[in-house]
C-alpha cells in the first residue's frame, strides 16, 4: 500500500514478493540499483539486523501479535529488541507507531519524531477482547487495561485504571469506518492536513489498520493527502491475501492465515460477509508456517464451524485441523480430510455450485503450494512474475 502511494513520485526498490529476511532485502537491493527510495516489509525478528544495516529514514511498527512462538519467543522479548533497535536509529529518523497496540505505543515514549496512528470509531469496536488478546495488562503496573473501544485482538483505545498509562493521542486516525462485506471498506482519513474519504478494495478492519500504517508512513516520507487517498484507492489484494482466482465459472477466495489474530479477522470477515456453507482449510507445519500447530486452538473458529455444511481440511497437519473443528462442534460427517493440497482444491471446487465462491484459508507454505498448483493450471501468473 505504501508502495502504491509513493510509487508514482519516486522510483522504489522494494521486496514486493514478501521475502522479508536479510537475504530478501539484499536481493531486492541488488535487483534495482538506481532507486530513490527503499521500502521494505521486514520480519519481526529480522528487523533489528536489517535496520542496523540499512539505517532507515523512517520505521513503521504495525503491531505485535502472538505468532510462531516456537520461532520468535515471547512478545515482550521482541518488543525489547525493537526498543534497542529504535534507540540506535539516526536521530533524524521518523518512528511511525500503531497507538492502539500498548506494547508498540510504549516504544515511542521518550523519543522524538514519533507519529501515531490508530482507529477512532467506537462504532467499529467489539464488545470484548477476543480469546487471543495478548498485551492486555498495563506495561507499567500490570493492571488489566480498560478499553474505551477494543478493535482487533488487543488493539484499541486503552487506559490503565490504576496508573493512567493510556493510548497516546492520534496524529492520523480512521473515523466513520464502513466494512462492505467481502468487497472492501471505506473510512474517513483524518490528518493534520484535513480529512478525506478513503475507498479500499480490501475487506476487514485489519486492512483499515494496514491502510492507516501505509498512509502515515507515506506522509512522513513526503506524500500529499491526495497521493495517499489515490494510492490507497488503487491498491489491490496482494498475493494470497484476499485474492480471487477464477476457475471456470467458480471463484476461489484465498485468505492467508498464519496466526490467531489474523485468522480471527479472516473468519470474522468471511462470516460477516455472508456465512459460507463450504470452505477449505490448509495447515502445513514448515518453519514459515510455524512448526508448533497449537495456535489453531487459539483461533475463534467456532463462528465458522457453526455455519459450515461441509469442510475440506488439507495440508501436512490436516488431521489437527479436523480435530480443531471436531472439538468446535462440527460433526465428523461434515468433514473431509484430504492431505494432498491439489486433490483438496479439486474436491472443494467439485462441492462448489457453478457461479459460487470457495473460501480457501491456507497457512503460508500451503498458500505458496496452492499458488503453484494454480499457476501450473494456467489460472494465475506465477508469483515471481506478478511480483516483478
Amino acid at each position: 500500500m505504501a508502495a502504491e502511494i509513493l510509487g508514482r513520485r519516486l522510483r522504489l526498490v522494494h521486496n514486493r514478493a514478501g521475502a522479508n529476511l536479510v537475504s530478501g532485502v539484499a536481493s531486492a537491493l541488488l535487483g534495482r540499483r538506481n532507486a530513490d527510495l527503499g521500502l521494505f516489509e521486514v520480519d519481526e525478528a529480522a528487523f533489528p539486523e536489517i535496520a542496523r544495516r540499512i539505517r532507515p529514514r523512517a520505521v513503521c511498527l504495525a503491531n505485535l501479535f502472538r505468532d510462531q512462538l516456537d520461532r520468535y519467543g515471547e512478545l515482550e522479548l521482541i518488543a525489547e529488541r525493537w526498543r534497542a533497535t529504535l534507540a540506535a536509529l539516526d536521530p533524524a529518523a521518523y518512528t511511525v507507531l500503531n497507538a492502539d497496540d500498548p506494547l508498540v505505543a510504549n516504544l515511542g515514549r521518550g523519543r522524538e519524531r514519533v507519529v501515531h496512528f490508530g482507529l477512532d470509531d467506537p462504532g467499529a469496536a467489539r464488545e470484548r477482547l477476543p480469546h487471543a488478546a495478548d498485551s492486555k495488562y498495563c506495561v507499567d503496573c500490570g493492571t488489566p487495561y480498560a478499553y474505551e473501544a477494543a478493535y482487533m485482538g488487543h488493539l484499541g483505545d486503552f487506559r490503565c485504571p490504576a496508573c493512567g498509562n493510556a493510548r497516546p493521542s492520534l496524529d492520523i486516525a480512521a473515523r466513520s469506518i464502513s466494512l462492505l462485506d467481502l468487497e472492501g471498506s471505506r473510512f474517513e482519513l483524518t490528518t493534520p492536513d484535513g480529512s478525506r474519504t478513503v475507498e479500499l478494495a480490501l475487506p476487514g478492519l485489519y486492512n483499515v489498520y494496514n491502510a492507516l500504517a501505509a498512509a502515515t508512513l507515506a506522509r512522513v516520507l513526503g506524500a500529499t493527502l491526495d497521493e495517499i487517498v489515490a494510492g490507497l484507492g488503487r491498491f489491490r489484494a496482494a498475493f494470497g491475501r484476499f485474492e480471487r482466482i477464477q476457475v471456470g465459472d467458480r471463484t476461489v477466495l484465498m485468505l492467508l492465515v498464519k496466526n490467531p489474530a489474523g485468522a480471527n479477522e479472516a473468519v470474522r470477515t468471511l462470516v460477516d460477509g455472508g456465512p459460507p456453507s463450504l470452505a477449505i482449510l490448509a495447515l502445513n507445519d514448515e518453519i514459515a508456517d510455524g512448526r508448533d500447530v497449537s495456535w489453531i486452538w487459539d483461533v475463534d473458529f467456532e463462528p465458522l464451524a457453526e455455519c459450515l455444511d461441509e469442510l475440506v481440511v488439507t495440508g501436512s497437519r490436516a488431521d489437527e485441523l479436523a480435530l480443531r473443528f471436531k472439538y468446535a462442534g462440527l460433526d465428523e460427517t461434515r468433514m473431509e480430510i484430504v492431505p494432498d493440497l491439489g486433490r483438496a482444491l479439486d474436491r472443494g471446487l467439485e462441492l462448489t455450485p457453478p457461479g459460487g465462491e470457495l473460501p480457501l484459508l491456507p497457512t503460508y507454505t500451503a498458500m505458496l503450494a496452492l499458488h503453484r498448483i494454480a499457476a501450473d493450471r494456467g489460472l494465475v501468473r506465477p508469483y515471481w512474475e506478478s511480483a516483478a
Binding site: 512462538l69 515471547e74 495488562y137 512448526r291 508448533d292 489453531i296 486452538w297 479436523a322 472439538y327
Partner: protein, 250 residues
C-alpha cells in the same frame, strides 16, 4: 454424573491454546452424558474445600507468570487440601513450573512456587523447542505414548522422591538431560507439553476425566470408548515429527 473443573487464571495463563485441552475434556464428557461444570478461579477467588474434581492451570509469557505467581503461591494450603482430598489436576508449561518449589529466571530473580510438586526450575541459556514423544504408565491399564510440543527456557529438576510423568522417547523433556518429562503426584500431573496435549492423546484425556470422577465415586469409573480415528492419526503424525525433528536429550 458430574465433574466440577476449576481453571486457574485463564485470563493470564493461556498462551498455548490451553482452552483446547478444556474443549476436549468438555466434549468427551458431554458425549458420555457427564455434566462438565467449568468454573474460573481468578485473583481473589477462593478454592473452597471439596469444590473441584479437576484443577487446570496453563502457561503464560514471563510477564503474565510473574503477575500470577505471588497469588498462586499464596494458595499453597488450599491447593494441598484439594489434591490431598482427591482432586485430579493438570498443570501445563508455566503452570507446571509455578506448582513446583520456585522458578529462578536468567537474572537470578526467583518467583515463588506453590510447592505442590517436588521440583524446582532454573532458566537456561537456550530454549528447548520442538515436538516430543513420551512413554507414560499411569496405571497398568493406563499406559501409552504421548505426543506433544515443548517450548521452554526453564530446566526443571525433580526432587529425589518425585515421580516423572513420562520417559522421553524423543525431545528434551524436563531438562534435556535426565530423560524424564513432567511430574506426577497421584492424580495430579504436570508437564511441559502444551497446546493440544489432550486432542491428540485422548487416552490421557479420558484418564483425567475418570480420575476426576473418582473423587466422588471412590474408584475411577470405566468410560465408554469413543471413536478416535482422527485423534489416532494426528497422534501418529505428531509422533513422527518428534522422531524426525524433535529436540534430543543430549
Amino acid at each position: 454424573m458430574k465433574v466440577v473443573v476449576g481453571h486457574l487464571y485463564p485470563d493470564y495463563l493461556n498462551i498455548y491454546a490451553d482452552r483446547g485441552n478444556m474443549a476436549v475434556l468438555a466434549r468427551r464428557a458431554a458425549w458420555r452424558n457427564i455434566e462438565f461444570d467449568y468454573r474460573v478461579v481468578g485473583f481473589g477467588d477462593s478454592l473452597r474445600p471439596g469444590e473441584h474434581d479437576l484443577l487446570y492451570i496453563g502457561g503464560g509469557q514471563d510477564r503474565e507468570q510473574a503477575l500470577v505467581a505471588p497469588d498462586l503461591a499464596g494458595r499453597r494450603a488450599e491447593l494441598e487440601e484439594a489434591i490431598e482430598g482427591g482432586a485430579a489436576a493438570l498443570a501445563v508449561c508455566g503452570g507446571y513450573q509455578l506448582l513446583g518449589q520456585f522458578y529462578r529466571d536468567r537474572s537470578g530473580a526467583e518467583l515463588p512456587g506453590a510447592g505442590i510438586f517436588d521440583h524446582y526450575t532454573v532458566a537456561g541459556e537456550r530454549r528447548m523447542i520442538g515436538d516430543v514423544l513420551l512413554e507414560c504408565e499411569l496405571a497398568p491399564d493406563a499406559r501409552g505414548t504421548i505426543a506433544g510440543f515443548e517450548n521452554h527456557a526453564g530446566r526443571t529438576t525433580l526432587g529425589s522422591n518425585a515421580v516423572p510423568f513420562g520417559r522421553v522417547v524423543a525431545g528434551f523433556g524436563n531438562d534435556g538431560e535426565s530423560g524424564f518429562e513432567g511430574c506426577r503426584r497421584g492424580r495430579a500431573l504436570g508437564t511441559y507439553l502444551h497446546g493440544p496435549l489432550l486432542p491428540r492423546n485422548p487416552w490421557l484425556a479420558d484418564w483425567l476425566l475418570s480420575q476426576s470422577m473418582a473423587r466422588r465415586l471412590g474408584e475411577p469409573p470405566p468410560l465408554a470408548p469413543l471413536r478416535d480415528e482422527i485423534e489416532s492419526r494426528a497422534h501418529e503424525v505428531a509422533s513422527g515429527r518428534a522422531f524426525s525433528r524433535g529436540g534430543r536429550a543430549n
